[in-house]
């Protein structure tokens, strides 16, 4: 087994954990946590491919990961802002109870 | 002969380390070298912490026309030892409802993270523990992690004062971390490197015997002032010590800590101050370089220690002088004055780069910064009118 497949398997596992968290938890914030985990798993993949790929000097994978980190920060800020906004309207962050489009 | 002696004295710790490392078998050498460096950093900065605490207590006393501690040992110089023993033998009280694991981890995380910042600080010539290419980024990554330990301490205590103190501390640290980073970016723009060794090395040049420190350029000076303000806020020091405002919230996030854990927070706070002074000295005050060319015979590590202790004296002096800010003043100052000034400074740094050599760029850059400072200061000093307080999230 090559080191790259090790990293890829870890990334896949973290991605699956994040997905499971996003799909099974009731709390909206935990869903966001799951999404963050998935994004990070993708970053790990990108960096692993960059490191073990044929052209590491091209920096593409690394750059992709850096931009992805920046975008994830924006995503977290907006996502959590939305959660707070929803909480203020409905007094809950339980996704099973948030089932109406009407505020 | 003299110069070689001075060089040896300059590198004495490096040579000592090499000598000790050479004594152990080859496979163990990296490990022993690392352990030696870590032990040296911890011992030296813990000692400086003790000296700083004593200086603070005696200095504040003198500023308030008191003697300060003068009982333990001659002139009270053993006071830190007495304090340490007292903290160690005190009972460690943990609140019944506290989250024990997080409560236990918070001070450890703080101390570890704070000490890790020293890994990239150039303490002397060739005396960086880990000479890292992205050293500055590493330093700020560690600084950002300290916020988490503050939150852990505040939340796990299950105490509203701790919680409020932690929220205040985090809000303040995040707000002032941005100017802190931005001012460092100015230095990075001037050197073209994120490595702190490189930054210190660049400043170790002299014209007419005077050093090329960044603080002696217009935007460097402005950045240094902003850095000092942001660093004071970042380390929760007076006048930005709202997170531990005794009059309102007892001791802030470490209200529920006692004994050794409290000592750890205390140590963490002072070591963070020393470390951020070290960063400021490296970025703006030439790191380990001597203030005059002729003084280069004095070892480089001595200058570094002198610089950080001077910075500590200024911290203490400010604590003895300034009253505590109010929360809204703190935030307004960060977002409406320090951050715009820093951004402008960033632009001036670019301008400086493209204006070429000569007196003109000095005049233009100084004039822009001074004008912005005066106008910004005027605008900021306008008295604000407050309406009735509204509670946004507590409805």
């Amino acid at each position: 087994m090559s080191p790259l497949s090790g990293y890829l398997l870890v990334a896949a596992l973290v991605f699956a954990i994040g997905l499971a968290g996003a799909l099974t938890r009731r709390n909206a914030i935990l869903v966001l946590i799951g999404i963050e985990l998935m994004l990070n798993a993708a970053n790990l993949n990108l960096i692993a491919f960059w490191r073990y790929g044929p052209h590491p000097e091209a920096l593409t994978g690394l750059m992709f990961a850096v931009f992805s980190i920046a975008i994830a920060a924006a995503e977290a800020a907006v996502g959590l802002g939305l959660v707070i906004s929803i909480y203020r309207h409905l007094k809950t962050t339980d996704l099973d109870e948030i089932n109406r489009m009407k505020g | 002969m003299t110069s070689s002696f001075a060089e040896n004295l300059d590198q004495i710790f490096v040579l000592l380390k090499h000598w000790i490392v050479a004594l152990v078998p080859v496979p163990l050498q990296p490990l022993v070298g690392a352990v030696l460096s870590v032990a040296a950093i911890i011992v030296v900065f813990a000692t400086l912490f003790a000296i700083a605490v004593l200086m603070e207590r005696k200095g504040l006393g003198r500023m308030q026309n008191r003697y300060g501690p003068n009982r333990v040992g001659p002139l009270g110089i053993l006071q830190p030892a007495a304090d340490g023993i007292k903290a160690l033998i005190k009972e460690d009280v943990v609140p019944y409802n506290a989250d024990h694991v997080v409560h236990f981890l918070a001070p450890i995380v703080l101390v570890v993270v704070v000490f890790m910042g020293y890994a990239v600080l150039p303490i002397g010539r060739n005396m960086t523990f880990v000479p890292m290419d992205a050293g500055l980024l590493f330093y700020f990554a560690m600084g950002a992690s300290a916020e988490l330990s503050v939150f852990m301490a505040g939340w796990s205590s299950r105490n509203k004062y701790s919680m409020l103190g932690a929220m205040r501390a985090i809000a303040q640290m995040i707000s002032y971390e941005i100017p802190l980073l931005m001012t460092s970016v100015i230095v990075v723009m001037m050197t073209g490197s994120l490595s702190l060794d490189k930054i210190a090395e660049v400043q170790n040049q002299y014209t007419w015997g005077l050093p090329h420190w960044f603080v002696f350029t217009p935007m460097g000076f402005a950045a240094f002032v902003m850095f000092a303000i942001a660093a004071t806020a970042e380390t929760n020091r007076s006048p930005f010590d709202l997170p531990e405002g005794e009059s309102e919230i007892i001791a802030g996030y470490f209200t529920e800590y006692s004994g050794f854990k409290f000592a750890e927070f205390f140590l963490g706070e002072y070591v963070a101050m020393l470390s951020i002074s070290g960063l400021g000295a490296t970025l703006f005050l030439g790191g380990w370089s001597a203030p005059l060319e002729v003084l280069n015979v004095v070892p480089s590590w001595f200058w570094f220690v002198v610089k950080i202790m001077t910075a500590m004296c200024v911290f203490i002096w400010m604590r003895g002088t300034l009253p505590r800010l109010r929360q809204d003043q703190l935030m307004n100052f960060a977002w409406k004055f320090v951050l715009p000034m820093t951004l402008l400074d960033l632009m001036v740094a670019g301008l400086w780069r493209f204006m070429g050599e000569g007196i003109l760029r000095w005049v233009v850059c100084s004039a822009i910064l001074l004008a912005a400072y005066v106008i910004g200061g005027r605008a900021g000093m306008k008295r604000e009118q407050f309406g009735p307080r509204s509670y946004r999230y507590a409805e």
């Binding site: 099974t24 935990l30 946590i33 590491p56 750059m63 920060a73 800020a77 802002g81 | 971390e177």
Partner: protein, 173 residues
């Protein structure tokens, strides 16, 4: 494995830290504990980045995720009063379906990775990438994405502030 046993052990430890942090982040009952466990997972990932010689990405990961995202998450938790563990279950009604989907995704990914094993490059390149190179790339080849990210971050910041801002009309009602 071609790499030496020390590297393997380190890799296993770091992966274990990451996976344990991730598992704790989705499984623990107390939401604040979840956020702190998530921080553990982020640190594990940052260390894995460092193992992959991506110093810049590793430190940026700690700076952004531990210093900013984790703090944002705990702030959101406290502002929405989620830190009290709910009396009802913490898992959604459709948890079984979610778990099956996640397991299926992992199975497919793992199968794909193991199937393509022979095709994967075995000898790793030795990238000597300095921060200087990254900076040059950001300011040269990647300057357009950089500017777009800058605009995106500004938009996100303004958006987050507006979304979370108090609506005056709401309270007047």
């Amino acid at each position: 494995m071609p790499s030496n046993p020390g590297d393997v052990i380190l890799f296993v430890i770091l992966s274990a830290l990451t996976v344990a942090g991730g598992l704790a982040a989705v499984l623990l009952r107390n939401v604040v504990h979840c956020a702190l466990a998530l921080t553990g997972a982020f640190i594990g990932l940052a260390l894995l980045f460092l193992r992959l010689d991506a110093q810049f990405a590793g430190f940026a990961q700690i700076l952004v995720y531990v210093g900013a995202v984790a703090i944002l998450v705990v702030f959101a938790i406290l502002l929405t009063r989620s830190s009290e563990t709910p009396a009802t279950g913490v898992f959604s009604k459709t948890w079984l379906a979610g778990l099956v989907v996640a397991a299926a995704v992992f199975a497919v990914l793992a199968w794909a990775v193991l199937q393509s094993e022979p095709a994967l490059p075995h000898a790793p390149g030795e990238p000597q990438v300095s921060v200087m190179q990254i900076g040059n790339a950001l300011m040269g080849q990647y300057v357009l994405p950089l500017e777009i990210v800058a605009v995106l971050l500004t938009a996100a910041m303004i958006g987050a502030v507006i979304v979370a801002m108090h609506e005056k009309k709401e309270t007047a009602k």
